[in-house]
Symmetry: C2
Subunit: 305 residues, 2 copies
């Protein structure tokens, strides 16, 4: 079954303790689409400028990603983000953000995009997310991501969105910020009380905590010896997670847990190189192999009876 | 099989956002012993002052804890620690430390203590840990804990100890501090190169990462909605971990993983109330029940074939 993602396709400039790149492909919808396409067909809805070349677009080639929704605005440049990381790779420091084409982005979904089974609203102004959602014919699963900026600058709109979606993908710090509650499980319950069934809390190198009305699932991050660049890990996670879910008939607890692990697996590849470089190298069999590594990483036996 | 623990029995004064207590039982050997005694007999080696009453000693009563090694120094007061936590319960701020009896503590182990199968050297000056170790008839498993202070003030002594023990229980921040390596898995490998077979890295509310030569095991912390006071969580973890291990014939990967989970289970009870108040209420059946909750928390299925 298919997914529609609405988010950014961008150029990034990144500096980490391990290297530096002045211009590489990035953006939430880029990472999401490539990750999700390992499992399900994706409709990408985003916007680019004149500077986005055929060569740049090759990141989507040979994958099940429909680019009908990748709108080009002439006379403008693509969205640009520049950031750096210190030895603590958990926190990105933004050097510069150039909105460029994004300032005029008003997504209009076509029939195929509107009728997808799964809709992912990547981080964006919550009213824009709302507008996109209202264009859709009630998808089976609607998920959103957000960021700290909207919690302060568009709190009411974000709260409305929390009540409109099934599934919220959010950073741990954002749960604390939104709820002003130090205990993340209590904070999660407060957000779920607004209407969603599932909160997926990203904890960076500590993995993911999924909280639903009935259960909590904790998955560690894959412990890599070489984390090169964490940019895109969260969107890759969301892509693997929702891509896998879209490929299944049901989104019950058993499949949600597998989906969390697939999301974590895909994200663990993303951080091994700059941009989508590592994600572009791997195949589904690499993904399945690391899924087994995840099982070994977390497995422990029942007590002897 | 039996355990000997050498550490502190203390009085604590603690303030958390949820309450305040001016004098309660604490100390590494106290938490460790009570936790370990759920699984194995414990020889406690520590020191107290005149102020430690019969009433205080009741924390050890009715448990398999031998107090022959609990030395009383007359005319002195017990070790005292005072600390506070903010809403981020991960970091304790020390208000005051009174060494008192601890300044003169030179443990001399008797035959029963020296011949225990498992030896736990709780956080102490590494030369004192070395002295205790040399008194023992090579136990099956030797483990130590340490703290940031010794990494800077007694680095050489600590490095020698890292080469003398089988198992190191250490905070994630201490791995980074000792190795000056941002990546915790790389840091773990560096420490293991000094001689130990197993590094157990405590990550506070994010659980535990165990690194051995052959495998990595990640266990989350139990996600509690009410964490009241984190004091003693690390020593309780070590007690549950080594107490369980001592009860088993072998300390191979399968048992190490179960031991990590039992340690995490015990620690999750400790933080629910001040001091050992919660630990004193629970029975082995509560522990086994939460072990099952841990399985539910972390379980995910293999992919369909």
């Amino acid at each position: 079954m298919s997914i529609t993602v609405v988010g950014t396709v961008a150029f990034d400039a990144i500096e980490t303790p391990f290297g530096k790149v002045d211009r590489c492909i990035g953006g939430s919808a880029t990472y999401f689409s490539v990750a999700a396409s390992f499992f399900s067909p994706v409709n990408l809805v985003s916007v680019i400028g004149d500077d986005f070349t055929e060569q740049d677009a090759s990141v989507f080639k040979g994958r099940n990603i429909n680019l009908d929704g990748l709108q080009r605005i002439h006379g403008e440049k693509s969205f640009f983000w520049s950031g750096e990381y210190g030895f603590d790779l958990n926190v990105a420091k933004t050097r510069e953000t150039q909105m460029n084409v994004l300032a005029q982005f008003q997504p209009r979904l076509n029939e195929q995009q509107r009728t997808a089974d799964v809709l992912f609203l990547a981080n964006a102004q919550p009213d824009l997310q709302f507008d996109v959602l209202k264009q859709c014919k009630r998808p089976r699963v609607v998920a959103l991501d957000t960021m700290n900026y909207w919690i302060t600058s568009a709190r009411e709109s974000l709260t409305r969105m929390f009540g409109e979606v099934d599934l919220i993908v959010i950073n741990e710090a954002e749960v604390r910020q939104y709820t002003e509650e130090a205990n993340v499980v209590k904070g999660a319950r407060q957000i779920l009380d607004l209407g969603a069934t599932t909160l997926v809390i990203k904890r960076g190198e500590y993995g993911v905590l999924m909280v639903t009305k009935d259960a909590i699932f904790a998955a560690p991050a894959y412990p890599l010896e070489n984390v090169f660049d964490p940019t895109g890990a969260g969107d890759t996670f969301a892509g693997g997670f929702l891509g896998y879910l879209a490929s299944r008939r049901e989104a019950h607890d058993k499949e949600l847990r597998r989906a969390i692990v697939f999301g974590s697996v895909l994200a663990s590849f993303t951080v091994e190189k700059f941009s989508l470089d590592r994600l572009r190298e791997i195949t589904l069999s690499d993904v399945l192999e690391r899924y087994q590594d995840f099982r070994a990483l977390t497995h422990f036996e029942d007590v002897d009876r």
